[in-house]
Symmetry: C2
Subunit: 817 residues, 2 copies
């Protein structure tokens, strides 16, 4: 086997490159196109456009005898090349370049034949196909989860005799013996006590039902936590912090895998049914992203490009929120505002499409039985008045305080779980919390039922058919219509009871949610947060209503709330409170308001919602800038460069780069003076992901960057396949290695794996600019130079650690690269 | 006057810098803070963080005798420094850095006293205050415009005797003698013929009314075009292409000025009233942006920073759309999808706030008299059916074709106007087009009325009270309720007449709009596009409806359209058609759908709207990627680097950089070998905006970049104020100039104006990466190096020209830098 003349190879490179620049590019032959599929031939970081133009025929032809052997080791596909290691950060620029290459290849091939043209069309449409599939699957899963949760929640209390798979509502709905007034009661539906001991009332029946309620809850929870532990540890939590990190360009293998999808779906049903204080909305986003990941793995356009895959995942997150709340526009805005990192316009409308498909699939399944998209449809009869803004803003303040309290306590508890022995008994923890929740929740009607039912009742206006305790107002005896919508009435005893029960339920929810979120089971906190806000809001609303009834003559009421006028809607207060609390915890604003009005169908109430959401955000931000998701990201040490954080310190690149003063000099490769052995030693002795290549140790002028992974593969292959490459062989990164004396060992030419356009900044660049560059271009690392001399390197981890240090946090908390 | 020791100055720089890095930064003294206000002390491009730390007290003290004189010329404020020249591009990174500096300064000062703390709070809140003011003014202006247009449109036909400032509707609304059936007729409202010759019917009255209609139209149009020509030439057109360019970082002085605001508001009323085929929606965005510019000039935070100002303008654009359509969420999405370039999340919710305030201000003015936000409120009684998707998609295809036709013809006509003698007679052109429009429009009832009334009628469902010709269906004689909403009827003669008139109106609108858009008057094309679509859609809708009526037994109708069923709503087709045509012209998708459903209040019709919008976009994109706004941007040669364009060619930085092969070498400065005279000669002989500074002409190792403007100012001031600086003085950009022989002229030290962190890429960097960098970081120029050696420079203009060349367009069409 012979050695290829370096000069010849270079000429070939440059020729084909200049060809493409100066003349129209001739279509690549299929052979070349196939060969260029494997990214090994592209330097890993910023690959160069022209690498796709390497033509092995040209290399093998003419004066370049024996070059075949050199080519061989580059032509063969290596597993895992072009992918990233687990818990590493992707390089967005490189992913984008790779996709552009792929696109170019397909475009040029599409002119060859009709078949290739159709293939290129299919490729262009694959994005929409993936969106359609995600929408269909996410919508279906959400519908199935809703139905299953409905059934299993009711199973804790009783069973339907006519068909055990019916939930309470379905059971009585299909029964003919139900009267309109008492929709909840029908002979087919039997409480456990009725079925087992034939009693539905009385202390013993109550205790039996209580006991069975707790047993079912413990059973569901135990099953859920065991499934998560055994089959899919990543299925726990809400998943949104991790999805944010993944979308920002981090690799967590298996986090969006098929097992996670399956187990999360099943356990989500179990934990929600168990009555724990958690919601299914956050986990549904995770489930939708798993769907997105699954379908993107079917199309090479997405499966082989981590950047493109993240576009699909962003859209999937939108579909997830869309089905969680029946809010397609809110879902897209949530994905844009809260979750996504790189969100090009193309993704915007694809997300919208996926969200729409998902919402319509869910509507066809119709789990809520009202053939509406919205979860808590409300219809208020009265507008809101300017004076009501004051209680709305108060609710905003409450929401902000709740958000702060929740985040602080929850993070403190989670940290304790991580660092103490508590974390070693996740199953026991779940069992204990479930038991406590079930024991305390059962006696109170507002905590016994499912949280979404509770929210729905709190949002509702007291209409004619409302049998709820909350609508137990004293009727005016002079009125002839006893059950119609009568405004301006004094509260009856039921309302006062409800107020007490709501207050107790509020305290219980606040406390238990802090301990529930973060356990090793799927758990979202949209619904618990909204419940807290809705309870507080409804209480405030009833208070304002009664105040107005008893004091019509007060100045603030005189203008808009005359006797007999229907002026205060307590349900609206509940809605505003829910938005405020959700905003305080997650710090969403626009997407929150849009979700809320899509959720409730109330386009008229944007201003109250906005006022509460913005107040809540301001109050919460005053105590700490982080929302719950960012807080969990920091807690877990993920390398997440938040777009919202502003870096305002006065440091320079030179302060952040490594090596620091006093540290060993930077490990570099030289372009033409190191032997294979030297390189291997360097690789062995360090664990850096790549090495800058300089002209010589003295001049230190930067010429490129070589990835560790590619170096190892290239040397290994050369040693195996190229005769003459031995430990003493010189490694050349130059274009034209010099003619060597005849008996010297064959040199190893590695210019191909060299990234010739590494990203550089000067040592005087302010760190705010560096942070901006890392953020906007999605870099993994950046070299620091002064007048062309290499001084050091800054990685994303360095940037994050520096930011943590400047914010007086522990820089060691950033754990991944 | 004496010369400051360079070494001493440098030490001072570095000391203060390392201070801030290693230790907590002590609060700056008020003197320093005040001095650092003027940007001259910041190198212009990427200014360095530490320049704000220069402490003149330190420089004047100790061993740096006489340094005061050197400092002087840097301390004094120069007019226009820190601003940009007209028709130049801003540097986003630099603007961001400057704002961070300002923010840092205020934060550190806020700890000094309560007053400073309050000032810092005010500064932090100024963004919200600006938004509030923009919302209030934009809403008010929109309301005033709506009222004035209403009145003046009716003035063309007649006058209200009881109060001449009442429009037709207001006049008859206040009249007691109006019956409910005939709301249009009341004795107070008199047509001109009635008033002048006492006849309201008959040929002579018709001709008189016709003549006066044309005269009023000509009068309004002449006044409008004259006002625009004399007072504010920038007030013409829709303004959106220019606003897009400005938001992307271009300077057009006066485009958003107070005169433009005033004249555009006044002339907008005139041209809309004159009956020309144009809308007020696009210009309202311009008006709102003028408001934004006005209010941002009141706050130094925004007036002194072109980047921050653009955040305000993005929000103002959202407010503009919000009042144009009564669609706050749609406005924010429009700003995000269509107009804005740099849209951080903070701007998202501020935009939302501004849009909400604007919409509510407009609602309080209540120009449409229905106390709704929405322009064309509709209420349909029937849902849509899957089978209807086919005509909806057909309408989408029509919209796409219309978009393509309109853009091609309009651009061709505008180009002709620019290049031939036609462009020299703008007043005559407006008069002629107005005359043609008025002459053709009057006889047809669908073109005589204002376009928004037409759209409103076309969108409407035929209800009980509808007296429109379009609702002239034959009533079933067996039905007892003659005027109620009766579905499934055959069309009467009125409907057939209406179809013919609509068809003629459609052709007329299509042709005349092409010639109208682009004249020297304010003109938007949202409304004309929507009118075209609504007319086509209504006709298709009536067609489908009658087809269903006559063929209930066809398979496609059998399932959902049984005899007697109310299955087809022609108004919905009009709505879908309007969305399709608007989408074809502007290529909006998500924002379009959201605007449409906010506009009409129909949340249920997202899927038909989405299907039509996406089809329309696909069809139109197949003929050309550019929307009308991008086409006008290209026509005018603005330097707009579109985020949506993907650059997929295989060129490298080396192919784009200047100097090209064969051109004169790059004009550079050396760090320590050029005299003042050399520099002055270089400045005189070239017109570059800046010069790279290298170590020496031989090594060409890059050390920084100096702005032309700063160089000129620095040398001018040094010559005036520093004794000993003569033409022979050596210019030093180094840190430590060598000790000079005693009788040599005083050197001129210019390191302070040197940007030490110029942005560089290597010559091997693929152009797609370079384009990405320019786009995402908002650069003006970028230096090209190889192994630290300077090879050339790439400016934004070079990038745009290269992109034009690659797309087979004329690179010389990019005219500005």
């Amino acid at each position: 086997m012979k050695f290829v003349s370096c000069h010849g190879l270079h000429v070939c490179f440059v020729k084909s490159m200049s060809l493409c620049v100066l003349f129209p590019v001739p279509p690549l032959s299929p052979v070349v196109s196939q060969l260029t599929r494997y990214p090994i031939r592209q330097p890993h970081w910023n690959r160069h456009s022209y690498t796709t133009l390497i033509n092995p025929n040209m290399v093998n032809a003419g004066d370049m005898n024996g070059s075949g052997n050199l080519m061989d080791f580059l032509d063969e596909p290596f597993p895992d090349v072009g992918t990233y290691e687990d818990f590493h950060t992707i390089d967005w620029l490189r992913e984008k370049s790779r996709d552009t290459d792929r696109h170019r290849k397909i475009t040029s091939k599409s002119k060859e034949s009709i078949w290739e043209f159709i293939k290129s069309l299919l490729d262009a449409w694959s994005g929409w196909v993936v969106m359609l599939l995600i929408g269909l699957l996410a919508g279906t899963l959400a519908g199935v989860i809703d139905l299953a949760v409905d059934w299993m929640t009711d199973l804790k209390e009783g069973v339907c005799l006519s068909a055990f798979w019916y939930s309470h509502e379905q059971c009585c709905w299909t029964s003919n013996e139900t009267t309109f007034d008492d929709r909840d009661k029908c002979p087919q539906w039997q409480k456990w006590s009725e079925l087992l001991v034939g009693q539905s009332e009385g202390a013993s029946a109550y205790i039996l039902n209580y006991f069975l309620y707790i047993m079912w809850a413990l059973c569901f929870a135990f099953l859920a936590v065991s499934l998560v532990r055994v089959f899919a540890p990543y299925a726990c939590g809400s998943g949104i912090p991790e999805i944010k990190t993944i979308l920002s360009g981090f690799i967590i293998r298996g986090y969006l895998g098929k097992w996670t999808l399956l187990i999360k779906t099943v356990t989500l049903v179990l934990v929600v049914s168990s009555g724990l204080s958690l919601g299914k909305e956050g986990p549904l986003v995770h489930v939708a992203c798993c769907c997105g990941n699954f379908f993107s793995s079917l199309f090479s356009k997405y499966s082989k490009n981590e950047g493109k895959r993240r576009e699909v995942l962003s859209a999937a997150a939108a579909a997830g929120v869309s089905v969680a709340f029946g809010a397609p526009i809110g879902g897209v805005l949530f994905s844009l505002e809260e979750v996504s990192y790189y969100f090009p316009l193309k993704t915007l409308w694809r997300s919208f499409f996926a969200a729409l498909v998902a919402a319509f699939t869910l509507r066809s399944i119709n789990p809520f039985g009202n053939s509406r998209l919205v979860l808590f449809y409300v219809e208020y009869h009265t507008p809101w008045y300017m004076a009501e803004l004051f209680p709305f803003i108060l609710l905003g303040v409450f929401g902000g305080l709740w958000g702060t309290l929740f985040i602080r306590c929850n993070i403190a508890w989670c940290r304790r779980r991580k660092t103490t022995r508590l974390g070693k008994y996740p199953v026991l923890e779940v069992i204990v919390i479930t038991a406590i929740t079930a024991i305390i929740a059962y006696p109170n009607p507002y905590t016994r039922r499912s949280t979404s039912e509770l929210i729905s009742e709190l949002f509702n206006d007291c209409g004619a058919l409302e049998s709820s305790q909350l609508c137990d107002y004293v009727n005016d005896p002079n009125m002839t219509r006893p059950v119609d919508d009568i405004p301006d009435r004094p509260a009856g005893p039921g309302v006062y009871t409800a107020m007490w029960q709501l207050a107790l339920a509020l305290v219980f929810k606040i406390v238990i949610t802090i301990f529930t979120f973060g356990m090793k089971i799927p758990s979202g906190l949209f619904i618990p947060s909204m419940a807290v806000g809705a309870m507080a809001g409804r209480m405030v609303g009833i208070g304002v209503e009664q105040l107005a009834y008893h004091h019509h003559d007060w100045i603030i009421f005189r203008n808009w709330c005359r006797p007999g006028a229907d002026c205060v809607t307590p349900g609206l207060y509940a809605m505003v409170g829910a938005a405020a609390c959700l905003g305080g915890v997650t710090r969403m604003t626009v997407s929150l308001v849009v979700i809320m009005f899509e959720l409730t169908g109330g386009l008229e109430y944007i201003v109250p919602l906005m006022a509460a959401a913005v107040t809540s955000k301001w109050v919460a931000d005053a105590f700490g800038k982080e929302g719950i998701y960012e807080a969990h990201i920091h807690l877990n040490g993920y390398p997440f460069l938040d777009v919202k954080d502003e870096f305002t310190h006065r440091t320079l690149a030179t302060d952040v780069m490594r090596p620091r003063r006093g540290e060993a000099p930077l490990s570099v490769l030289t372009q033409d003076s190191m032997t294979v052995e030297d390189v291997e030693t360097l690789i062995k002795e360090t664990d850096y992901n790549g090495f800058p290549v300089v002209v010589s140790k003295d001049s230190e002028r930067l010429i490129g960057f070589a990835q560790r992974r590619e170096l190892i593969l290239a040397i290994k292959n050369a040693r195996q396949r190229q005769d003459g490459v031995v430990s003493n062989s010189i490694v050349y990164f130059t274009e034209d290695p010099p003619e060597l004396p005849p008996n010297s060992p064959h040199p190893l030419k590695l210019r191909r794996i060299l990234n010739l356009s590494p990203f550089t900044v000067t040592d005087h660049t302010p760190m705010e600019t560096v942070v901006d560059i890392f953020r906007k271009l999605g870099l993994r690392q950046c070299l620091v130079t002064r007048s062309g001399r290499l001084l050091g390197i800054i990685t994303k981890k360095d940037v994050l650690r520096h930011m943590a240090q400047m914010a007086n946090q522990d820089p060691e908390s950033i754990m991944f690269n």
